[in-house]
C-alpha cells in the first residue's frame, strides 16, 4: 500500500476576516489554487497570509465570503471535519508520544485498526526518510527530523489539501534548502495540492508553481515566480521579491509594445506595460547594473561607497545623481575599491517599468 493523492482545488471568493470588530486581517480576497499545484502565500509580517492559511484549515472562520475545497463549500466547516492537514512552524509534535504514535495519530483518530495504522505510519516515515525512528521521542530528534515527522504525520492522512505554515523558519540555512527540496519532491511525486506560507522570498521562488504576494490584507500580485520577479505589478512587489533599485525616469514615447525611456544619461527600450509618456518609476535588479571603471564610456556617473565580498558575488553601494544604488557583481576577481569613480550602465534584462501606486 502506498500514499495516494486525493488532491482538490482551493477557492476563496471575496473572503474577509475581521478580528475584534475592527482589525481587518484579510480584506475581500479571492484566488484559486489548482489541484496538484503548490502555491505560496508570500508577504511581510502582518499581511494576512497566515490568517488566510488558517481559514483554509478551518482554524479561523471567515466573516464574509466563501471558502471552497474542491467543489464543496467548507466556509462554516470546523477544522476537525475538513480533509486538510497542516504542518506547523513549531512542528507541533506531541511530546509524550513517540514518532510512530505521532505519525499514526490522525489514523488512530479515524478509528483505523492499530496494525493498519502502524503500517501506514511506516509508509509515511519511509517517504520522508525516517524509517526506523518509530520508537524515538520528538525530544530525541533534531529540528530537521522533527519537521519531517510533522510532514509524514500530515501526509499519511492523504489530505485533499496540504498546508505549510512557515515550516522552515526554525531550521538553519543549510537545512532549509534541503528540506524545502524534499517537500517539493514529495508534493510533485504525489501530485498533492499544497498551500505554503513564508516570508522568505527566495524559498517562495524556489518551490512554488505560483506565488500570491499579500500586503496589508490584500493581494498585491499573483503569478509564476518569473512573472513576479521580472514583471512586478507595483513598487511594493518589486522591492519585496528580490531587491530592487527604484529610480525615476522619463517615458519619452511608446511604439508597439515598447517604450523609449530616459534614465539620466541612459536611454533604454523597455516593454511599456501600459504606461503613458511622462514621469515613471523603473525597478532595476542589483545584478542588472553594470559598473565600469572606464569613466570615458557613456553611463551614469557614480562613486563606489562600500564594497563587500560575499564569496560568490560582490556587493557594491554606489552614489549617483539618481540616488544610492545597490549593485551586485559576479566578478569577484577584479573588484572595485571604495572611492573609485565608475560609470553605471544597464544590462538587457532585469530592468522594468513599474506602475506608480
Amino acid at each position: 500500500m502506498s500514499i495516494q493523492s486525493k488532491a482538490a482545488s482551493v477557492t476563496f471568493e471575496n473572503v474577509t476576516k475581521i478580528y475584534g470588530g475592527s482589525v481587518v486581517a484579510v480584506d475581500d480576497v479571492s484566488f484559486v489554487v489548482e489541484a496538484g499545484a503548490l502555491v505560496t502565500l508570500l508577504g511581510p509580517s502582518g499581511c494576512g497570509k497566515t490568517t488566510t492559511l488558517r481559514m483554509i484549515a478551518g482554524l479561523e472562520m471567515a466573516n464574509k465570503g466563501r471558502v471552497l475545497i474542491g467543489d464543496e463549500n467548507v466556509t462554516t466547516l470546523p477544522a476537525t471535519d475538513r480533509d486538510v492537514s497542516m504542518v506547523f512552524q513549531s512542528y507541533a509534535l506531541f511530546p509524550h508520544m513517540n514518532v510512530g504514535e505521532n505519525v499514526a495519530y490522525g489514523l488512530d483518530v479515524s478509528g483505523m485498526a492499530k496494525s493498519e495504522s502502524r503500517d501506514r505510519a511506516i509508509e509515511g516515515l519511509k517517504l520522508v526518510g525516517l524509517n526506523g525512528y518509530q520508537e524515538r521521542l520528538p525530544s530525541e530528534l533534531s529540528g530537521g527530523q522533527q519537521q519531517r515527522v510533522a510532514v509524514a504525520r500530515a501526509l499519511v492522512l492523504e489530505p485533499q489539501v496540504l498546508l505549510f505554515d512557515e515550516p522552515l523558519s526554525n531550521l538553519d540555512a543549510k537545512l532549509r534548502r534541503q528540506v524545502r527540496e524534499e517537500i517539493r519532491d514529495i508534493q510533485r511525486n504525489l501530485g498533492l495540492t499544497a498551500v505554503y506560507v513564508t516570508h522568505d522570498q527566495e524559498e517562495a521562488l524556489a518551490v512554488s508553481d505560483r506565488i500570491i504576494v499579500m500586503n496589508n490584507a490584500v493581494i498585491a500580485q499573483e503569478g509564476t515566480p518569473r512573472e513576479l520577479y521580472e514583471e512586478p505589478a507595483d513598487i511594493f512587489v518589486a522591492d519585496f521579491i528580490g531587491d530592487a533599485n527604484l529610480v525615476d525616469a522619463q517615458l519619452l514615447s511608446v511604439s508597439g509594445d515598447r517604450a523609449d525611456v530616459q534614465i539620466a544619461e541612459l536611454s533604454v527600450s523597455l516593454p511599456h506595460r501600459n504606461l503613458q509618456p511622462g514621469s515613471v518609476n523603473i525597478a532595476v535588479r542589483p545584478e542588472s547594473f553594470i559598473l565600469s571603471t572606464d569613466t570615458t564610456t557613456t553611463g551614469i556617473a557614480g562613486t563606489v561607497d562600500k564594497c563587500s565580498y560575499l564569496g560568490n558575488h560582490m556587493e557594491y553601494s554606489v552614489t549617483t545623481n539618481i540616488g544610492e544604488l545597490f549593485v551586485v557583481a559576479s566578478d569577484v576577481v577584479t573588484t572595485i575599491q571604495p572611492k573609485t569613480g565608475v560609470k553605471v550602465t544597464l544590462a538587457n534584462h532585469g530592468v522594468t517599468l513599474v506602475a506608480n501606486t
Binding site: 470546523p78 476537525t80 513549531s90 526506523g132 521521542l137
Partner: protein, 267 residues
C-alpha cells in the same frame, strides 16, 4: 520545628505526659484496635468510625476537586469570553474566605428546602470541592499555559474533536498538575477543621473534629496517636496518587550517543 514534632510523637508512646512517662502503646490500641468477630474483621478502636468517614469523604472530593479545578483552568486558558477576568478572580475568592465563614454560610444556605444538605456527607464534599478548587485552577493554568496552542490545533486538523484532544494530548501532558491538585485536595480534606467543625454530624464525623473532641476531654494520648496515623496515611496517599496518575514522559535530549550505522544513514 523538628524538636516540636519529636515531642509530639513521643507523647503517644508514654502513658500520661507530664505524669507517668512509662513507655506504652495503649493509646494506639485504644484508637485503632482490631479484632475478629462472627462476620469477620471488627473495627473495635474508637477512632475507626471517623477515620473511614474522613478517608471516604477525602477520596470522593479529591478527584472532584481536581476535575473542577482543571476544567476551569481549561476554560480560562483556551477560551475567551466576556467577564473572564472577573470569573478568574471569583475562582480565587473561595481561597480567601475563612473556613469558619464558609462553614456557617453552608449551614445557612443548605439547611432548608429546596436543597437540604446539612448533616449529610454531600455538604462536606461540596465544601471541600469549592474550598480547594483554586489550587487545581492555578496548577492547571500554569501547566496549560506552557502547552503550545499549536498542539491543540494540530490535533484538530488531524481530525480529532475537542474531547479526544483533551483526553489524548492535553491531559497526559498535565499529569504533574493533576497530581498536585489531587494530593493537595486530599490532604486538605483530611486536615481541614475550620469549615468542617460546623458541618460534621453524628453520622459524618471527621477525624479532625474527633481529635479536637478528644483533646477537650484531656485524652491527649489518643489525639496524638490519631494525628500520627493521619500523617502516615497522607504520606502514603501521595505515593498512591503518583502511582495512579503516572509520570509524564516527554524525554530529554541525551548527551552525544555513539553513532550507529542506522543513525548515520538517516541523518
Amino acid at each position: 520545628m523538628d524538636g516540636f514534632h519529636h515531642c509530639g510523637l513521643l507523647h503517644d508512646f508514654v502513658n500520661t505526659w507530664g505524669l507517668d512517662h512509662t513507655f506504652t502503646l495503649k493509646h494506639y490500641i485504644t484508637a485503632f484496635s482490631v479484632s475478629w468477630g462472627e462476620e469477620g474483621l471488627l473495627w473495635t478502636g474508637a477512632a475507626w468510625d471517623s477515620f473511614w468517614t474522613t478517608i471516604s469523604i477525602a477520596t470522593v472530593s479529591a478527584p472532584l476537586t481536581a476535575a473542577v479545578g482543571l476544567l476551569t483552568a481549561y476554560i480560562l486558558v483556551r477560551q475567551t469570553f466576556a467577564g473572564k477576568d472577573l470569573f478568574e478572580f471569583g475562582t480565587m475568592l473561595s481561597f480567601a474566605i475563612p473556613g469558619t465563614v464558609i462553614g456557617v454560610s453552608y449551614i445557612l444556605a443548605f439547611n432548608i428546602p429546596p436543597i437540604e444538605l446539612t448533616g449529610t456527607g454531600a455538604i462536606l464534599v461540596l465544601c471541600f470541592v469549592f474550598r480547594n478548587m483554586p489550587v487545581g485552577v492555578r496548577a492547571g493554568v500554569a501547566a496549560m499555559s506552557q502547552l503550545d496552542k499549536s498542539l491543540d490545533e494540530a490535533s484538530l486538523t488531524l481530525g480529532a474533536n475537542s474531547w479526544y484532544t483533551c483526553r489524548k494530548v492535553v491531559l497526559p501532558l498535565l499529569r504533574p498538575a493533576i497530581i498536585a491538585a489531587l494530593v493537595y485536595s486530599f490532604v486538605r480534606a483530611m486536615t481541614a477543621i475550620s469549615a468542617v467543625i460546623f458541618l460534621v454530624s453524628a453520622e459524618y464525623d471527621m477525624a479532625t473534629s474527633y481529635i479536637i473532641g478528644r483533646v477537650e476531654n484531656n485524652d491527649y494520648g489518643l489525639a496524638i496517636a490519631y494525628s500520627t496515623v493521619l500523617i502516615f496515611v497522607m504520606l502514603a496517599s501521595v505515593l498512591v496518587f503518583q502511582g495512579l496518575v503516572g509520570e509524564r514522559k516527554i524525554g530529554r535530549r541525551e548527551p552525544e550517543k555513539t553513532d550507529t550505522p542506522a543513525q548515520n544513514q538517516a541523518a
